[in-house]
Structures are given as C-alpha cells and as structure tokens.
Symmetry: C2
Subunit: 249 residues, 2 copies
C-alpha cells in the first residue's frame, strides 16, 4: 500500500503533563484505544496487518508494535501469528485500568457504563469509610481535615475544590490501609473526576456539600463505622444524582 491515502490526520505526540501520549507509541495507543472503546472496532475485528496498518498511520512498525503491546497489556487486543491482531471480547478488557477509563471517557461515554461505575463506587466507598473508622489513623485524620479545609476555602465548582474533594476521598482510602482498595478507587475516582469535570462545565453545583463531608469525617474520628458508612453512602448518592441530572438531558 502506498502512503498516498491519509485517512487519518498524522499521529503526533500530545503534550500533556503526565499524559498518556507524550511519545509516539503512546499517541498511537491512545488513538487506537479510544477508537476501540468508542466502538469503531468491534470485538473480533482485525487490525489489518502490522505493515499495512503502520503504513496507514505513517509510523514505523516499531512504534506501532509498542503501541499494540500497550493495548494487549490492557486486554483490548491479542496478536497471534497468521491470525493477526484482533480486538478481544469486552469481558477481557481491563475496564478499571486508569488509562482505559480515560479512553472510555475520551469520546461519548456510555451511560450504562457510567452508571455501573457509580454503582461500584456506592459499594466500595461506604465500606472504605467504615474500615477507616475501625482503623482510625491519626495522620489520616489530619489529611482528611486538611482536605476538608481546602473545600471550605474553595467552592466545589472550582478546580481547587474538586482537587480537595478528591484528596478527601483519597485520604479515607489511604486510611483503610488496604492496597487493593486504594488502587481500585484510584481508578474509579479518576473516572468520576472526568464525569464531574464534564458536568461542571455546564452548571454550577446546586448545594453546598461541606456538611455532608464533615459528617463522614466526624464519624471516622469517633470510630463509628456504621455512621461513617451511612454518611458516605449519602455522599455518593448525592454525587450520583448530580451526575444523572447533567447527563440525562
């Protein structure tokens, strides 16, 4: 195949801080990953051949192959000699991988998937708050207080406020001392921050959520795991409702 046809604009590394596509192979992985998540390639589809596809993208086979390794590592595709590189069925995808989540939200995010993420969050975060209440680490409590202070200074609609909110949830997760929980929430929180960022672009937050956050903190400080869980449940519930409002219309 000749290089005359350029069906896609030339792949160029994106300059993002800590982003996924600072290098060429990263940019290709981002492009292809987002395309797969968006449904442009369906499970079972083959990605032409190495030579054909790399020429199509106008990059070397090395760069293309390294990008494919990234996708394969996340369970999106599988390469086999003679069979080519095929998109794997959706249940093999590593949907909780932070980068994959980023690709999922790069395009029009699937409503059902967003809902399932919030459902997962509604399961995990209250339980995490309860665990944190049982452990009640003093340093962790201080982190939460700091984050809460940050939220009082800035409104949640601001960038700084959202960061403080994230820090608050992160501090609780840290306080559980559970590595698996920490990693999991790191993924989910990243995704949630995407949706909230999406949301706040349209409308400001209708209510002041500080008291709700303080309730969680107080319960953890008092080692009341049941109250902590319940308070966190309310918090997630509210976040879900806000998101639903902004995504429905």
């Amino acid at each position: 195949m000749s290089k005359t046809t350029a069906p896609t604009e030339p792949i160029k590394p994106v300059r993002e801080p800590r982003g996924t596509g600072r290098r060429l192979y990263g940019a290709i992985a981002h492009k292809l990953g987002a395309a797969i998540l968006a449904g442009e390639y369906l499970p079972g589809d083959v990605l032409s051949g190495e030579i054909v596809f790399s020429e199509l993208l106008d990059v070397s086979r090395s760069a293309y192959r390294e990008a494919i390794q990234v996708l394969a590592a996340k369970g999106l595709v599988e390469s086999r000699p003679k069979a080519g590189t095929r998109v794997l069925p959706r249940n093999r995808w590593n949907l909780l991988d932070p980068e994959v989540l980023g690709w999922a939200f790069a395009g029009q995010p699937d409503i059902a998937f967003v809902r399932s993420l919030f459902e997962l969050r509604a399961i995990v975060e209250p339980a995490a708050a309860a665990l944190a209440a049982e452990r009640r680490d003093k340093a962790a409590l201080k982190s939460m207080r700091d984050a809460l202070a940050g939220m009082t200074r800035h409104t949640l609609a601001s960038e700084a406020g959202r960061l403080a909110d994230r820090d608050f949830h992160n501090a609780i997760l840290l306080a559980t001392g559970n590595d698996a929980l920490i990693v999991l929430s790191a993924s989910v929180c990243a995704a949630v921050s995407w949706t909230t960022q999406f949301k706040h672009r349209q409308r400001a937050l209708p209510r002041n959520p500080i008291p709700d956050h303080r309730r969680v903190l107080d319960a953890i400080a008092a080692s009341d795991s049941a109250a902590a869980s319940e308070a966190m449940r309310v918090l997630v519930e509210l976040a879900l409702e806000d998101t639903r409002q902004s995504m429905q219309p």
Copy 2:
C-alpha cells in the same frame, strides 16, 4: 558489557495455555514483573539501560523494549530519556490487573496483600449478590443452578469443583449486569483461585460448603437482597478463614 556473564538463565518463552509468556517479550515481562512484585527491584530503582539490560538478558533491544511497554502499561515502571527506566511507587501499580496479580502470586505472596484482597472481596461480593437479587435474571439463575449442580457432583477440593465454584461466583457477577463489577471480580477471583489452589495442595477442605452456596442462590431467586448479601458475606468469611488457616503456619 560483554555477554560472558550470564547472571540469569537465558530467557525462554514459557509454554502455557493462554499464558502470559508465550512470546519472548512476554517472558521478559513476566520475569521482570514477578521480580518487581517480589521486591527485588524497589520503587525508585533504575533498570540499568536498555542496551545494558537487553545484553544482560541476551535478547535484542526490541524485545526488551516491548516487554518494558507492557510493564509501563501496568504502571510498574516509567521510562524517560536520560533518566532511564525506574520502578514507580507502589501506589501507581495496577495491582488489580490480572497479570500483575499473577506476578504477585508467582513468588511468595505478601500476607497483607492477600488479606486486603479478601477484604475487598468481602465488600464487593455481598453487594453483588444483593444487586443480583434485585435484578433476578432468569438466565443467570439457571447458570448459578448449573454451577451449583457441578459443585454437588465434585468435591470442592477437586479441580472441577473449584471451577464450578468460580462459575457460581461468576454467574452472580454476570447477573448484576454491572461491567465494572464483572471486570473487578474477574481479577480478584483469579487471585483468589491462586490462593485456594495453593491452599488445597496442603489439606482438603474441612467442611461441605454446598448448603452455604445454596442459601445464596435461594435468596437471589426470592429477590431477597438482604438475605443474599448476608449469605454471601458468610461464604466469603468462611473462605477467608480457610485461607488464613493454611497461610498462618
């Protein structure tokens, strides 16, 4: 550096069905990933240089680089020009990635991490059972019944019995209709199956778990989400105790 020193036996692709190391780059990724998870390389350590390291392993730079891409995709390492390839801090690792979990259990698994996985399971699975009870899909119910039947035919200590047990839990997750939950449990279940496999090598299961499983199924069939959650909680609790017994001494 010359190739005279061979500190490690030559890397060779492992022949596993659907395994991680069928190719050379996969074998390297497996070797390095397992080494990192085992703590042989600590966060902040650099992996020499591409040329040095690839010669050390006696493979080409391409194969080594593709292996590194896999590790980088899972958040284990990060490569930057002039700075080399460094092991990232543990909170960047994608610990819920099935492959990473496999590497974690390739060596002596960290007790604290196993505990945190069970803690996560104890959080997620009862909630999933409750969700399944709310949805109550007829096809899913049939899958659970089939898996349960498989468990009655074989004892849980057998390979077939363990597969049936996995199918049972999988069917419940499927019934939730929550993609995020499904992916998450796919990871955790894989890890748990590792530990149970480890366990059963030493001693047979002391009790017959069929009635406990049936209780979960009945509660889901009756759309009693509270009962389903509680029954599943008991199930996970028992599994945790069994594992604790076999890992303590």
